[in-house]
């Protein structure tokens, strides 16, 4: 096995046993980046010097420390290009942040470093995380490693392509309406969207603040548990993170089994029109596999699911329009050369800096928040969101987890979803759980027959039930293999 093919667990074991050094491991990723990134385009930039410097430090620490804590240090992790790493670019795949250099580390990056991981390379995404194919990146094209004529999904498409194409050991993504889970499904990786509040967003460029979460994108469920354990926890810089202790997610996987697990099957997910027949087949097979492994299947209903997309496309753009008002050409980011006064400084800098999807969402968000419309759109959407959340509460009173498809189709061809609304439908199955703030995973479940494309299924558990989610995901991963 090549070093770049390793996951976190294997890499940590190899490092602890002295089979290779962090410098060797990091160099293997850098070599792989040089060999493959031209074709796949997962990374936007890679500060090789900085990654190797941190790798060297990790090797030195491991050599000198007697404690167990440093044994597995020095595993490189690819970072989605909206998470600040001090001294590195953070473009959010937008022209408006070209040339920006992060003045500080995001809390998740601090946490990674404190747990012996190395931020290594910045991966592509849809501009400001708005999109489901990474086609909205203003800075580069990312291709699906399983079929270069297809998209990797999005918005964390660079993360997914890097993991799926073995251009990294593991990656960080962010999920607002499905941006970790859908690309994970498209690129055969494990993706976990933690519960809202589980992971700090300090230093992560905000898209929709009532929804955004950072999470792991990995080659196995165990790797996701290792990474989530490092990321999660209270941060005084993010008021949404509670003091709840972070369970040992890795330990929680011991003896993972589906025996007696109550799996909810909801018709609102499984009986939707527009689901690709191969996605349907793979999801049905996943259900059978779980049943054979001892899971108890329980029919549940989440009646407000059909409104989730509409609620999301009010709330997310509304919050985005407010968050993106900080890009005004004053303190950082692009400033138009054509500005004559402050008004044109704003309007022209933003016009030149933002891409079409970002502009559409800013306009949509501004509209639903504008005087006379607020109650009908944003206010109403927040109330319907409560009903969506209640659906989940009621379902989780009966079952341990929901099993659903992750995305309605496998990876599609570039340019296949030209109409914005059609593109939005990609997140049909991932948006409701994002609105409810609960946790969910995407786990590889099979390949399509003719096109041989990976397809994942989604498990959804209640808020702060990541131990259960990971356990069920792990058990599924094992029985499917």
């Amino acid at each position: 096995m090549e070093l770049f093919e390793l996951g976190i667990k294997q890499a940590q074991e190899g490092l602890a046993k002295g089979e290779f050094s962090s410098v060797e491991l990091t160099q293997a990723i850098i070599d792989r980046y040089h060999a493959k990134n031209g074709e796949i385009g997962a990374y936007l930039t890679f500060d090789e010097e900085d990654a190797l410097r941190l790798a060297k430090e990790a090797d030195e620490v491991r050599g000198s420390a007697a404690g167990e804590t440093h044994r597995g240090t020095g595993v490189p992790i690819a970072i989605k290009d909206l998470i600040n790493v001090k001294g590195q670019p953070c473009t959010c795949a937008s022209k408006i942040l070209k040339g920006y250099v992060s003045p500080y580390d995001a809390t998740v990056v601090k946490n990674l470093k404190a747990n012996g991981f190395i931020p290594a390379g910045r991966v592509n995404m849809d501009e400001f995380a708005m999109g489901s194919s990474t086609e909205n990146s203003a800075l580069g094209v990312t291709r699906n490693p399983y079929d270069l004529t297809r998209v990797p999904g999005g918005s964390s498409g660079g993360s997914a392509a890097a993991v799926g194409g073995n251009l990294c050991i593991a990656a960080l993504g962010t999920d607002t309406g499905g941006s970790i889970r859908q690309p994970a499904s498209f690129c055969n990786c494990v993706g976990v969207k933690p519960s809202y509040g589980r992971v700090s967003r300090y230093g992560v460029t905000a898209f929709a603040s009532s929804l955004d979460q950072v999470g792991p994108m990995t080659k196995s469920v165990e790797d996701a548990a290792i990474l989530l354990k490092a990321l999660a926890g209270h941060d005084e810089m993010d008021g949404t993170t509670p003091h709840d202790p972070v369970p040992d997610y890795v330990k929680a996987l011991e003896g993972a089994s589906l025996k007696g697990v109550k799996l909810g099957l909801a018709k609102e997910y499984l009986e939707t029109a527009g689901m690709d027949p191969e996605v349907r087949r793979i999801t049905d097979e996943a259900i059978k596999v779980c049943e054979a492994a001892g899971a108890e299947l329980v029919e549940v209903s989440l009646p407000h699911t059909e409104y989730a997309m509409a609620v999301y496309y009010v709330i997310a753009p509304a919050e985005a329009s407010a968050n993106l008002s900080r890009f005004d050409g004053v303190r950082y980011g692009h400033r138009s050369e054509l500005a004559k006064d402050v008004y044109s400084l704003y309007t022209k800098s933003r016009a030149e800096g933002f891409g079409p999807e970002v502009k559409r969402r800013i306009i949509m968000g501004t509209y639903v928040l504008s005087s006379g419309y607020y109650d009908a759109y944003y206010g109403k959407a927040q109330k319907v969101r409560t009903l969506i959340k209640r659906d989940f509460d009621q379902a989780f009173a009966k079952v341990d987890a929901l099993l659903t498809p992750c995305a309605p189709t496998p990876a599609f061809k570039f340019g296949a979803n030209q109409d914005p609304l059609t593109m939005y439908l990609n997140d049909l199955y991932t948006i409701p759980s994002a609105l409810a703030g609960v946790c969910a995973s995407s786990v590889p479940a099979g390949f399509t027959k003719d096109t041989n494309l990976p397809v994942g299924v989604q498990f959804i558990c209640g808020g702060f039930k990541e131990e259960k989610l990971l356990k069920i995901s792990k058990a599924f991963e094992e029985v499917r293999a």
């Binding site: 407000h304 609620v311 306009i363 109330k383």
Partner: protein, 96 residues
């Protein structure tokens, strides 16, 4: 037409070309039409959900702590003079 894209873009301080307006107008009309689906739902007596979880105020100690050094805070400035961000003049007739 429920949404006037040109007008809303002005509110958002976003200059649009005529081509952009022509493309965005029908697209956004479609999206607005789609989201209006939420009007069907009876939300009598339902409280709004503002976040992904029930939040309580999260206070931290009110103490002076280190912030970004001026030089670091200004490092990404598109234009600066000394320790300040440089902007076009804001008040008509004033010295810029």
């Amino acid at each position: 037409m429920k949404i006037d894209v040109g007008y809303v873009a002005e509110l958002a301080r976003l200059e649009l070309t005529e081509e952009e307006k022509a493309v965005f107008q029908p697209q956004l009309e479609n999206i607005v039409k789609y989201v209006e689906k939420i009007s069907e739902v009876d939300v009598t007596g339902v409280e709004p959900m503002m976040h992904g979880r029930t939040l309580v105020n999260a206070f931290r100690e009110d103490v002076v702590r280190e912030s970004l050094p001026t030089e670091v805070a200004l490092a990404n400035a598109p234009k600066r003079v000394g320790d300040e961000f440089l902007l076009p003049k804001i008040v008509e007739g004033a010295e810029s």
